[in-house]
Symmetry: C2
Subunit: 568 residues, 2 copies
Amino acid sequence: MDLKSLIRHARGDEPADVLLRNARVVNVLSGEIVPASVAIAGDFIVGIGEYPAKHEVDLRGSFVAPGFIDAHVHVESAMVPPAEFARAVVPRGTTTVVTDPHEIANVLGLDGIRFMFESAKYGPLSMYVMASSCVPATTMATNGAALHGYDLFPLKSDPWVLGLAEVMNFPGVVRGEDSVLEKIGAFRDRPIDGHAPGVSGRELQAYVAAGITSDHESTTAGEALEKLRLGMMVFIREGSAARDLDALLPLVTSATQHRFCFCTDDCQPADLVERGGIDHMVRRSIAAGVDPVIAIRMATWNAAQHFRLSHRGAVVPGRRADLVVFDDLRAPSPRLVYRNGQLVAQDGRMVVPPRPPSRSLRGTMNVAWDAVDFGMRAEGRRARVIGVQEHQLVTRALVDEPPVIEGFACADPARDLLKVAVIERHMASGAMGRGFVQGIGLRRGAIASSVAHDHHNLVVVGADDRSMMTAARRVAAMQGGMAVCEGDGVVADVPLPLGGLMSHEPVEVVHHQVAAAVTAARGLGSPLHDPFMTMGFLALEVIPALKLTDQGLVDVDRFERVPLWLRC
Amino acid sequence: MDLKSLIRHARGDEPADVLLRNARVVNVLSGEIVPASVAIAGDFIVGIGEYPAKHEVDLRGSFVAPGFIDAHVHVESAMVPPAEFARAVVPRGTTTVVTDPHEIANVLGLDGIRFMFESAKYGPLSMYVMASSCVPATTMATNGAALHGYDLFPLKSDPWVLGLAEVMNFPGVVRGEDSVLEKIGAFRDRPIDGHAPGVSGRELQAYVAAGITSDHESTTAGEALEKLRLGMMVFIREGSAARDLDALLPLVTSATQHRFCFCTDDCQPADLVERGGIDHMVRRSIAAGVDPVIAIRMATWNAAQHFRLSHRGAVVPGRRADLVVFDDLRAPSPRLVYRNGQLVAQDGRMVVPPRPPSRSLRGTMNVAWDAVDFGMRAEGRRARVIGVQEHQLVTRALVDEPPVIEGFACADPARDLLKVAVIERHMASGAMGRGFVQGIGLRRGAIASSVAHDHHNLVVVGADDRSMMTAARRVAAMQGGMAVCEGDGVVADVPLPLGGLMSHEPVEVVHHQVAAAVTAARGLGSPLHDPFMTMGFLALEVIPALKLTDQGLVDVDRFERVPLWLRC
């Protein structure tokens, strides 16, 4: 709608398309609930109050608030592409997300980011992108692409790109490494998201001085307060793994409430389907005693303000008509969701026709099968073993003596000593890391997955080589995904053919497929709540202590590769 | 300072230039007073806490806050150019101003705006500019330049230009006039300042829908609340004429405090010298019961956030070291002022050498003297008379019968009926408006000035033609200014050779010159507090009811020119 027409509607000289009558408007600017009607024309809110309209909806006293904004989310973690992600979150009131597509970018680089735009465009969810800053995370693993400042610079002129995504390489920032500063420099004076778990004192000050404007990694109020005091916007995160809401809410006061946004970061299909995202955070905040208008402000205006989304985040004339309608201010559950003035969801379901499925991506499972060999010649007696811990990304660096048969070291499922392999799957380079893991708990069979942060190589854990090969091949045959195998048989699988990360199926189907795969893995003996998630993170070489990549074992504390076998 | 060096200082690996020790830091983000030291390197704050430094200043518990930001000011109203304006406001803690140079722009167009930059550059005050949107204000007066969207567009790429200045033509916005929308369109998604006195309801909604993001014209809490609810940032104004602080402060609550900035709009030399600007507003707010940190937040962070000045407005690493130091949190009076890390003022005085005087401007008093004639042939019996009211810009439309001698209508000072003339002084067109005014109160002599909003033609009020001619010629001879004359003699004058608006003298000198001129005018019989200010506004053809321009009398309510003489 052009400006002139917008003004004409706001004057009331031309009838609005829709008038939401008898609403109680949540005014996140004045902190009030204001009884009023809301006039919508085209994509925009054009007036608050009585207006002539072509169509009226009597809300009978329901509340109208701005659509929710997720300030930081990796859509890929939901294992579905943006179009399907939208179908999951929009009915729950999230109309805008700020995403870092760094999972797909680690697989397919800029092509991967373009795919995310492709899947989001003209859909019912406004998807903004922060340019991924850490692709790859390190040089101790092979991933599918490398994005330097040179590559990110063109993204600046895309109106859907707001800034630079979480700069996870905080040591690089604090040390002033050129390659990191180049990226930060490219996005100077734009929002630059931070990722500084536990960083404090002068290191944090250096990180902030570099121009990082937010952080979503605080797990304690003290940590968040230090960041807030230094000028960072605190994104409170309630994801599937990391849940920080309870710990951080006590910091929200009338003095500080303008310095918080809500984000989900990583949300698995199960939580997306059963729990909710930002809507869940709003309800929990209110239940914890936060004033409802403040809770909604954190979920809307604060993020719009932070990211300079000047047409979103408030129910005022001239802003986009992204609105949620709900009945209970103590526990807002969106009954109606408007996006760009159109009713897109009602009673938890989309009411607009689904978009055609996302165009597929080219296959990304490029494995040099000739080089894939799970055999591990015993080059010593004592081997390094990754000790996984449930509900933690941090592993322990253990040492054990695996059984040796005919010169080859073997798994010993009886004492939970399993083999683990990470097979490079982007360049068909033949690179493959091999090691041992304790804590997965399979008694027999193997599990494999192409979801392995951040390089997303093919990771396999198993009790025997044959099962491991079956699982690895099954994942590759699906062009990515998760598999549970025993011997030559496939017990369960989850196809994730989009970059090896995302499915073509509806999120509910993926949720059930994943649940079935987890159940199958538990059937093979694993006591873990989610052995796939645990396995996925044992290949993440930026989190202590001992990890495995396609390049071999990594001692993260020393930040270098180490051999499997100890000398003595 | 490059990013790498900034980071090195923030780490503490390189000593800071200055460490402000034993400070109590006003943290406008957390709402706290935090005892700490502040490390400065180059232009920037590099750390909060203990840092190695080349030089230490023991503040002994003094408070450190961000430098104040004036969100909207016409520097020209102080009758001195930016360099001298800086000398007046910086010692009082204002380190950044957002200006609309529309007075000088009405005289000299883009050249006038460039002069303001020229005078401000590399000085101790950061002067940002909003592109003047209303040059000229109307077509019912002749001014010195016309700035269309076409002319403003190039300003967008100037890093010191933040957005579009107050769109005073609110009827034009509400009616959707192309010439106004062109300017708004050019600054889409940038801050666009509003000017909507008393505008309400659907008209206000149309104004907001057009993209206007702030307003500084609210004089009542009700008016400001309506604007705040609709999404406008409310600039609370405390200028020399308009003083809205007391009326609006009751609106400032913990819920709304993030929606207010402070501004002075128009500040005369007297107030600049004797009262203060933003510092005065901070003190008065606190005295009125506003929490000191909130008062300071409105004077700093809120404006920085609104104008996207991402390097100002908070005492945190990576922001510019614009700081004020004061001892009394209940009545902050800056004792030390740092700007870009340098101590620039102490105990109310600048401590850095003055900048060389601003380069002069070409003369702007271009009057066709042959056409200047104060004689007014009586073309009727009853004449329209402008009735001025002290302390109000609004005039009354009166009717009176002036005495007529030899066919010419004359002033009648005995009953306060004076002649008024507005002489076009930009293009030497010979245009001249003539009329009568009641309320100025001169018993004899005349006063003249080249400061006459917004066209700044030469306005003269007098008891006789000879005195009026003397005064007009005196102003022109000074290349602009104010004069008080009687017969052929000059009783007092104020030279304002810079565009006819600003002086080369220090602001204290201008203050005394103006005071002397006012005293002289009062000596000639005027009972007004400031007859020059009253006279200056009787030529402003956008404020009701009856005004005079070089084109003649204007009935502002009808928004058209009207003849001096009534028909019957």
